[in-house]
Structures are given as structure tokens and as C-alpha cells.
Symmetry: C2
Subunit: 476 residues, 2 copies
């Protein structure tokens, strides 16, 4: 029943990109606009982002983060202050050149990221060791002029948070960099049910202006990697470029140390591509705006709708629940809630009422449970927890089944061509080999994982002594 | 003690504008930037905005509002679609003309407000009466090229929420317009302790493109008015300009009706100018990021700091509380917490501990209360409620004492010159009189209040029959 609705999505096995676009559109997450690369995030999509924000912000604040807000414009002279940074970002910014009917004396870019603004700000307010650390974050949108765009994954404007911290010592900055990477990874695993590989980027892949970039990498259903959050240690590079010095306890003037870290709306894309199926979105219960949808069966029969509302009012005390009381057929409602990824649907009809029960149907496995109305609160809470952990385990199993090892370039090329997924291989640390691997196998280094393994003594590319294990892959 | 700190603020009686600027700076609400009219909202300021957002968003959602996010850019052709609207906003927008290293074929402005984008969006998703209403809102920043700027009150970029709704009928749109105005007014009175005059704007003062604009107006300590929130009914004007038609129940194609409504970070300015005093900010307890600050006395004495932390942990279950355990003197801490506007300070020292008590000091009245530690939770909760309602009552008394009546132009001019405040006066409804009143008395119409009074039969300006009572005043 209601197959029409379902048939309108492309199967992911046939065309993964089209399947993704179909879900984004049919689950009403996004609307396209006349501005290339800009999208409307519709309420069904934005509500997911609100839940991400709320939970991430709570976790940030537990570690002492304070929120603030900096301007969206960066004068060109300010952007130019740190050499590597401007080289990385200048080509992809949008420039405001006119305002209030006049041509500006100095053009301003719309922030692609706000290191330069935070540095300027910190140079005003940091004078003494007593002023340190500052652990600030902002929630905002940024603009990067991307040539090819895709909703959530890569767009001209996107929403994110950017944390920017400043510390007295290099050790403190390093500790904060790693701490925030772990906050991200834990959040993704515990809240979004997406397992992460935690590690460090190679110099080639690190952030423009950073001393070191740390990353969490996830594997999508199609075997491509998604960089999901990054945390950068700047050392005192930005502080030197912006003259951020403070008086230490020995009354000496020294440079401060900085970090930054960000996570974006791209995580909504990750949820789709890790958990979705051919019926639509599948949302992990913790991030789902609606965790259970009550669908009355034969709702015109006396007592059914009242029972549905009464059940909603009971459940609403502990979970996010709604009743679909529209005049659509139950079959159509089932398909619609499946498309939207609602973790559990609750069917309740005259027969159920006679038996003092309801039917719980899992979105992820379609398993049905008949549950007594007397204990539905506990059973539903347990079920949501089970779904959450099952989803994480399935995603982990999928990732592990699609993580391969290569010790020669032939193996590497064969896996890259035929087995979409992560490739683990040893690397000598030379940029030349990193470039050659990309050239020959079409994969980039995703990260040098914290959990190192010793697969062989030699670099997969040049055969010289290996320094480190690297995760390689094709990436979004 | 610590008078140095306090002396550094200008007295509001001497120079209100400088007093305001001093508070904004010394309470660490804002930092200035190199970009004219753009400011950094520092954590102490942003935390106030977060509390405003949280409470307002909660109240919105209770009325069925859903959040979404639209692009920050508006192509010029889209901005130009509604004639009155573009005339109102085009002179004060910022234009992006270059992106990704190239000159754009069509320039885009940074949104000054998003009616045009919402119209474009609604034209995609509204087709049938079944699709209506849509009651959407977004939290974002907007840019208006202002010549003179002041932190929170008028800046080039500011944060706000903008609600945009679309309805089947004119009646529904009108009801939503009024509903949201009341949500704003109730929020301001109950949460910010700022009394509001609710009313309608004259045609001269209404929003560009609106059929009717409703407003809430507050009176600042210096007798100037502050427009605090507006709600617009667009009728079907935008729908006609953007072709937003839907099929009604009789299968006829008809135009939809729209509203929009907004509130901004300017409310932080209102809090300062309604409640602040010559020692700094005074925050109403409900919006205060920290509601009580525990200041240990003789904190080096054994047991004092431990008692302070234990008290914090007890109180933190119900209120937002911190301990100031820095090595500053208590006097300095007192002055600092006064500057920051924290509603209650709690002093606890060896003598208090011996008496099983703490001292609660109100920020607003400086009244001291000695409270037994056994009942401090209840006493403090009561005190915060009392402060909140006292602050509203004081603000109301101030406003009422500075609200005058005029029945002749001579009275009007005399009051405008000598008695800062609201002036109530009757008006015939003619734009010519509104202009003449501005010209001669230097005041603008603030609103035609919902609560009408009959002060006289004739217009204060021309002597013709009066149609309505108007609140007039000088405004920010």
C-alpha cells in the first residue's frame, strides 16, 4: 500500500546521488532557490539541526565554552594578515563592494571562517595571563564560493559553529584541540549513531594557517568518506601575525596560542547517507524531531482518535510524539512517516483498543511489537534506546566491512577501483607519495588515526620505511 | 571601596549617551571592530541574547511556529519584485558583486529582511488550501547600511528573528499579526520587566510593503521611545507580486495572505536603558545569565570557600549561580557584579557561617537580607520573583510619570521641549498633520494604541475632528 509514494525514490543501489537528492526533497528537508548553491532548510531539516545544536552546545558548555557573535564581514586588509590563511580562502570568498548606495573604499568579504576576526578581537581583550584562556564559540552561517554544490554536503552558504580559543601555553592549546575533537566524535557516536575514525590530517590536507588539524571521518553507505568535524591547533602563528601578546607571570611579553574547531549542517547529510534506506530517511531516535508518530487505524470509528490523543498526551511527558490525524489513508501515512525517518510508528485501532494494546513498528528494521497500553511508556523508551544502539552497531559493522588493507600499490588501486570504502595503508610521510597515491588510485588521505596499527614496514607507494598508518578513501 | 571601578562610568544625568556607551563597554557586552557599525557581542552580552532567544522561541512554538533557514543573499531581481518594499530597502543594502574570483552577472544583496525570499519559497510549496497555513520563523542576522550606529540600538548588522506566515484568509492573517504582537508584548513585560504600549503604526511609519504594521513601544530612562517589536499584515500584496496562489476548497485559484514579525538584539539596549543605573547594568532575574553571585568574605579563612562551593551546588539545582573565587577584594567584586547587573549577590564569611546565615543583597535596591542557610533556596527564589515584579512596576511607574497629554500644539511643543517622555494627543489621521507635528515639535508618531482614550474632540494640530489617539515621542 502507498507504494506510489515509495516508488518515487530512486534506489540507492541504482544511483546513490539521485537517491540522496530524492530523500532531501521528498522528506522536505530542503528547497532549492534561485541562488546557485544556496538552499532553504525547511522545518523538517532545520528541526534536526536544532537538536544537533542543542546537544552540541550543551556538551560545549560542559567544557567551559562561552558563546559570542562576531560580524559577518571581514575587511580585505584583515583577511590578508595571515599568509597561509588568505591563500587558502581568498579564492573562494564573496565580496561586498557596495553599500548604502556607494562604492566601498575597502571591499569586505562575507566570512568564510572567522579566525581573522577572532584574532582582531582577542588582540583587544587579551593583555595579561589573567585574561587567559578565552574559550569562545559562535553559531552562524559562512559563505564559500563552491563550484559544485549539493544540499548539506557542500553549499555556498552553510550553517555551523566555529569555536576559537586562546591560551597561555602550547600544551593548553594542544589539550583543547584534542578535547574538542573528542567532543565531536563522542557526540556523533552517541547522538547521531555514526561511528568515527579519529585522527590527524596530513600537512597537505590541514587547514590553511594551522600547525596541525585533527579530524573525525565517517563512512557513508556508498563507501565514500565524509570529513565530519575538524579541530585545529594554530600554535602561535596567528598570534604573531596579529600581534596577540600577553604579559606572563614573570612579567614578560609573550605570544598566545590558539585553536579553532567546527561542525556544520553537513552532519544532516551524514545522517541521510549512513542511515537512510530505499524508503527514505531513517533518523536515530536521539536526534529525531519526532520520535514516534501515532497513526490511528479506522480513525472514524468512535473512540479511536480520542484514544490516540490520550496516548499522545501520556507519551509526550517523556518523548517527542505526534498524532497523524489527517484524512489520508493509513497506508499513505505509513509511507510518509517512513520517508521522514520517524523512528517508531504507533498503530492504534479498534481491535488494539479492545485488546488494550498498541502496535509499535520500528522504522529501521520494520519489526512489529504488540505492547500493552499499561506499560507502553517503558516499552517505548526501551525500544528507542535499542534502535539508537542498533543503528550505531549497524553503521559500525558496515564501516568495518568496508575497511580494507593494502600493502602494495596494486592492491591499493584494485581496492580503490572495486571496493568502495576506507583503505588502510602505511605511508612514509612524504608529500610526493601522497600525491602519487591520489594520482594513481584516486584516493586522498583521510587521516592518520590515533589508533595506529602496524600493517607493514614500508610505505605502500615508495617502499621506503613507513612512518604511520593512514586511512585513505574517496571523499565528499 | 572599589569606587574607582564605579567612578569610571559617566552619570546618566550628565550624559545619557555616554553612560550607555560606558555600560556597554564596562559590562563587557560589546567590543568595537574595525568595521563601522559592526560589533562583537561578547559572552556577557550574547548570554542575554541566548536567554531571550530560548524564551521567545518557546513562546513561538507554543503557538505552532516552526523554524527554518533561508539564504542570506537576495538576487537583485527578486528584491525588485514588490515595489514599495524595494523602495524602502534598496537604499540601505550591502551588495555582493564578486564571488569566487569573478564578477557576478547579477549582484545580490545581503538580506536586510527576508520577505522576498520567503515569498519565493512559499510560491514553490503552497499549491492547495491543504498546504496552508505555514507559520515559519528564522533566527539570523541581517544587514542595513546605517549612517549613524550605536551598539544594540542601531547597527549595520544585527541579530533577530523574523517570522513569515502565509494563510488562506485575510482574517487568519490579521489574527496571526495581532497574536504575535501580543506574544512580544507579554514576553517583554513578563521576562524583561519592560512595560509596553501596544498599538498600530500610522501609514507613514509602517513597514515597506505592509498593509498594516503593529508595534510595541517602550519608554527609556531618558524619556525617549524605543520601538521594540513589530508585526506586519501584508494582505495579499506580496502574494500578488510573487504570484502565490492556491486552490481553495471550491477549486478556485486565489491569492494567499501573509504576515511577518520581528524582534532584535536591540532589546538588550532596552534592558540597559530601562533598568540600568549609575553603577551599571541591572538585569531582570528571568533574563540574567547569572542570577546570583556568591562572594566569599575572608575567603582564605578555613571553611569559607568550601561553604561557598557547597552553597553554589545546592542553589544550582534551581537557579543560575556562580562563585566569584578570584583573588580580588570583596569590594572590587561587589562593584564588578554591580556593573554586570547580577540581580543578587550572596555574601558568606566566617561570621555568617557561625550564625548559619548568608547575606543577600539586591542589585536593584541594594537592600540587604540576612537569611538562614536552612531556608535560603526558598528565600532566594522569592527574592528573585520580587525583584522581577518590582523592576516591572518601577519601569511602569517611570513610564506613566513621563507620559503627558497635549490638546494644543503649544502644549505639545512645550512638553516636547521640556519633558522627555510619551505625549498622548488626538490626531485627525492626515499625513500633513503628522508631518507638521514632527516639523514643529520634533516628535514622531509612535503608535495608535489599542487602548484608546478620548482626550479631546479635535486634532492637536489642525483642529479638525480627531479620529484617534496617538502616542508621540522622540525615538531611538
Amino acid at each position: 500500500m502507498a507504494e506510489n509514494f515509495v516508488e518515487s525514490i530512486t534506489n540507492m543501489e541504482d544511483d546513490f546521488a539521485q537517491w540522496y537528492t530524492d530523500i532531501v526533497k521528498k522528506a522536505e528537508l530542503v528547497d532549492y532557490t534561485g541562488i546557485k548553491g544556496c538552499m532553504v532548510i525547511r522545518p523538517a531539516g532545520y528541526a534536526i539541526w536544532e537538536n544537533i545544536q542543542k546537544e552540541l552546545d550543551r556538551r560545549f558548555k560542559e567544557t567551559g565554552v562561552e558563546n559570542c557573535y562576531l560580524p559577518m564581514f571581514i575587511p580585505e586588509s584583515l583577511l590578508n594578515k595571515e599568509k597561509d590563511h588568505v591563500e587558502g580562502f581568498a579564492p573562494e570568498v564573496a565580496w561586498v563592494t557596495q553599500g548604502g548606495g556607494e562604492t566601498l573604499q575597502e571591499r569586505m568579504c562575507v566570512r568564510p571562517t572567522s579566525e581573522t576576526l577572532f584574532c582582531d578581537f582577542y588582540s583587544h581583550i587579551v593583555h595579561s595571563y589573567r585574561d587567559l584562556p578565552k574559550v569562545y564559540n559562535q553559531w552562524c552561517s559562512v559563505v564559500r564560493w563552491e563550484k559544485t554544490t549539493r544540499p548539506f554536503l557542500r553549499s555556498m552558504e552553510f550553517l555551523w559553529q566555529e569555536g576559537h580559543t586562546i591560551h597561555a601555553t602550547a600544551e593548553e592549546a594542544q589539550a583543547r584541540t584534542e578535547q574538542m575533537l573528542n567532543v565531536y566524535a563522542d557526540f556523533c557516536e552517541e547522538f547521531l549513531a555514526i561511528p568515527m575514525v579519529r585522527g590527524r590530517k596530513t600537512d597537505k590536507e590541514k587547514f590553511a594557517g594551522a600547525e596541525a588539524t585533527y579530524t573525525i571521518e565517517a563512512l557513508m553507505h556508498d563507501g565514500k568518506a565524509l570529513q565530519s568535524g575538524t579541530s585545529h591547533n594554530f600554535g602561535d602563528g596567528f598570534a604573531r601575525a596579529f600581534g596577540i601578546q600577553y604579559t606572563d607571570k614573570e612579567n614578560k611579553l609573550v605570544y598566545a596560542h590558539q585553536t579553532s574547531w567546527g561542525m556544520t549542517t553537513r552532519m544532516i547529510g551524514a545522517i541521510i547517507m549512513v542511515h537512510g534506506d530505499n524508503s527514505g530517511l531513517v533518523l536515530p531516535p536521539r536526534v529525531a524531531p519526532t520520535q514516534a508518530m501515532i497513526i490511528p487505524i479506522q480513525q472514524k470509528k468512535e473512540g479511536v482518535l480520542d484514544a490516540a490523543y490520550a496516548l499522545r498526551d501520556r507519551l509526550a511527558k517523556t518523548i517527542r510524539v505526534k498524532v497523524d490525524d489527517t484524512d489520508k489513508t493509513p497506508g499513505f501515512k505509513f509511507a510518509e512517516q517512513e520517508m521522514r525517518g520517524i523512528p517508531v510508528r504507533i498503530e492504534i485501532g479498534p481491535k488494539d483498543l479492545a485488546n488494550n494494546q498498541a502496535v509499535l513498528v520500528r522504522r529501521d528494521t520494520r519489526e512489529k511489537l504488540f505492547v500493552s497500553l499499561d506499560e507502553i511508556e517503558t516499552k517505548l523508551a526501551e525500544l528507542l534506546d535499542t534502535i539508537q544502539s542498533d543503528m550505531l552497531e549497524r553503521a559500525r559493522a558496515h564501516r568495518d566491512a568496508h575497511t580494507y588493507e593494502a600493502t602494495t600499490m596494486d592492491e591499493m588501486k584494485d581496492i580503490a577501483d572495486n571496493k568502495p570504502g576506507f583503505i588502510k595503508a602505511m605511508w612514509c610521510g612524504d608529500r610526493a607519495c601522497e600525491d602519487a597515491i591520489k594520482e594513481q588510485a584516486g584516493v586522498t588521505s583521510r587521516c592518520m588515526p590515533f589508533k595506529q596499527e602496524h600493517l607493514s614496514d614500508t610505505c605502500v607507494c615508495c617502499g621506503k620505511p613507513a612512518k604511520t598508518l593512514v586511512y585513505w578513501g574517496k571523499a565528499y
